[in-house]
């Protein structure tokens, strides 16, 4: 009985992986179909983040430090934050366009197929263009590692991986939470730009530069602090007001799982209110 259950679970997992590979293959085919799009993204995305980083460099050179963070450490934070942003763009960006899906009745198709609706929502149009955001992220991160004399260890590599997964989940969960409101409002409101602004302002720089009330809000209510500030403070050994050290990366992963789970429940509740598009 238990064996059969495990077998069934493994089969389901293999099925989802198989379909995911199929989606990724189709995404590549679509890129080949419209090659000029790639050129545009390849140029505009990196420029956006490199310019952003150049701004930090200027500020730090003027003032020496931001809240005890050196230039190299800031690059480290900025780089990792852009990497988790890129990952969230690849897997979860559809959350930004939920309004469109709701109003146009796009969920009809997902609901009549024998796979999870949330899975299909995120993976049917998997955005492999998001990879273009990864490049500036990795470059700035590596630069930050050198500048801040970051010492590598296996534990730290694991921590970085865990925090990246957690951070991606937190971002994805927040996109989904905001997007799900479309089920109730039935408007095509696109939250993408606002989300991007808020995320950029709070994750690309140390959270400690904001007033305490703001920090409290962004730690416990909307856990954006865990996307980059707390786990990276732990990695770099900077005092963030929390004393978890490397463990902060594990907490990031847990927070990510919780945010995504809550978002999933909220999404499923919203889906019951889905009214399709009349014809």
């Amino acid at each position: 009985m238990k064996n059969a259950k495990i077998k069934c679970l493994l089969h389901t997992l293999a099925h989802y992986i198989d379909v995911t590979i199929c989606h990724i293959r189709m995404a590549f085919l679509m890129i080949v179909e419209y090659p000029s799009n790639i050129a545009g993204w390849m140029i505009s995305n990196p420029i956006q983040f490199i310019l952003g980083f150049a701004t930090i460099k200027f500020v730090v050179e003027q003032f020496g430090q931001i809240n005890g963070w050196t230039y190299g450490q800031l690059a480290f934070l900025y780089g990792l934050s852009v990497i988790s942003h890129a990952l969230s763009m690849i897997f979860f960006v559809q959350g930004w366009f939920m309004g469109f899906y709701v109003v146009e009745g796009e969920f009809d198709r997902y609901l009549t197929r024998p796979l999870g609706v949330m899975y299909q929502f995120f993976f049917t149009n998997i955005n492999i263009f998001g990879v273009t955001d990864l490049i500036p992220g990795i470059l700035v991160f590596l630069y930050g590692c050198v500048e801040s004399n970051f010492t590598w260890s296996i534990a730290k590599v694991i921590c970085i991986l865990l925090m990246l997964i957690g951070a991606t989940f937190i971002r994805g969960g927040l996109y989904l939470c905001l997007g799900t409101t479309s089920f109730f409002t039935k408007s095509t409101m696109d939250f993408g730009q606002y989300t991007q602004e808020i995320m950029d302002k709070t994750t690309l720089y140390p959270l400690s530069m904001y007033p305490e009330s703001m920090q409290f809000l962004l730690t416990y209510l909307i856990p954006i602090g865990w996307v980059s500030f707390y786990p990276i403070s732990g990695l770099l050994g900077i005092d963030s007001g929390q004393t978890y050290g490397l463990l902060a990366s594990v907490i990031t992963l847990l927070v990510g799982l919780i945010v995504l789970a809550v978002a999933g429940l909220w999404f499923n509740y919203g889906l019951n209110k889905y009214e399709s598009a009349g014809n």
Binding site: L29, M30, L111, T112, P114
Partner: protein
């Protein structure tokens, strides 16, 4: 007998809540403070049962609740009340399991990937429904015979005509050999040849695979060609659930005999028919099928006055439906 029931709908209802909006800016502002919520019963307490291998047509005027009904039957909409069983299983509670066994085509939208060749969409579905390659090839071969799908399988969907796209959608819905096929206005906007091919295909899969088919349509040709059973919906309720022949007998149990005489003098009448209309030398007699046969009527009338030509008109399905909607 029990497991012969493919679809069982019991006491199914769907309410929509709409906010009543008043006109103009002042109305809009008023609406911010006082929301006049209104409940619209799109479908109300519908019972319906469909046997395995049946083809039924659900028809009704625009906004009658057809689409809402079909969308609840396919698991797209969550019912406000009641339940839908497909092959004995509740679609709301076991969506993922039940939808493996149904195929859906919404004529006005597509499940195909717009940017890629048709074959890529089929390939994705092959993976989603876990169809092995042999079965997939075999299914495609069968469907190719009627629809000529292989001619267009390498064409990007965005370059297809509407007819080709609907054919593609129909094949996509049948790749996994579902036991129930739902078609929401499948022939809308199609030319005569494509409609013919589509109807032939639908009849064929029904005959060969015993696929149960539920279709909504405004096309009376679809109904005459495909269905024996007709469900008429209005104001969210089933107002007729009957055999196509029965409803004709019940709503319009008469025929019209049109007689062309050589001249327009002394047009005769007959006690078992009513002289509906006379236009020059052409007279129209309406008679009940039970009162007199057409042959007898012609014979008796031609005794009274010499005829040049005769024709018998039956009430068309469109007229019948128009009368039914008006009830």
């Amino acid at each position: 007998m029990e497991n012969n029931k493919m679809i069982e709908v019991t006491d199914l209802s769907k309410d929509y809540h709409v906010v009543k909006k008043e006109a103009g800016l002042s109305g809009a502002i008023k609406g911010l403070f006082k929301s006049g919520k209104q409940t619209i019963k799109a479908v109300s307490h519908v019972d319906l049962s469909v046997d395995k291998g049946e083809i039924i047509a659900v028809i009704g005027p625009n906004g009658a609740g057809k689409s809402s009904l079909i969308k609840m039957m396919t698991g797209v909409l969550t019912p406000t009340g009641g339940q839908v069983l497909i092959n004995g299983k509740d679609i709301t509670k076991n969506r993922k399991e039940v939808v493996k066994n149904i195929g859906v085509v919404f004529g006005q939208r597509t499940q195909l990937n717009w940017d890629l060749r048709l074959g890529e969409s089929f390939e994705l579905l092959r993976h989603i429904y876990e169809i092995d390659r042999d079965e997939y090839e075999k299914n495609l071969e069968v469907m190719d015979e009627i629809l000529g799908i292989k001619e267009i399988i390498n064409k990007p969907v965005r370059q297809m005509s509407l007819g080709q796209r609907v054919k593609g959608d129909l094949v996509a819905a049948m790749l996994h050999s579902p036991e129930v096929l739902f078609l929401d206005e499948p022939t809308i906007g199609l030319d005569v040849n494509t409609k013919f091919a589509l109807r032939k295909f639908i009849k064929e899969i029904n005959r060969v695979n015993k696929t149960t088919i539920v279709l909504t349509t405004h096309d009376l040709g679809d109904i005459e060609e495909l269905c024996e059973r007709l469900i008429i919906i209005n104001h969210g309720k089933i107002i007729e659930d009957c055999n196509l022949l029965d409803i004709t007998d019940r709503i319009a149990p008469y025929k019209t005999l049109v007689v062309e005489y050589y001249d327009d003098e002394n047009i005769p009448t007959h006690e078992n028919s009513t002289l509906d209309k006379v236009e020059g030398n052409v007279a129209r007699y309406r008679f009940m099928k039970n009162d007199i046969t057409a042959a007898a009527l012609i014979a008796e009338l031609s005794n009274k006055k010499k005829m040049k030509d005769v024709a018998i008109e039956e009430v068309g399905i469109d007229e019948i439906i128009r009368i039914a909607y008006g009830q």
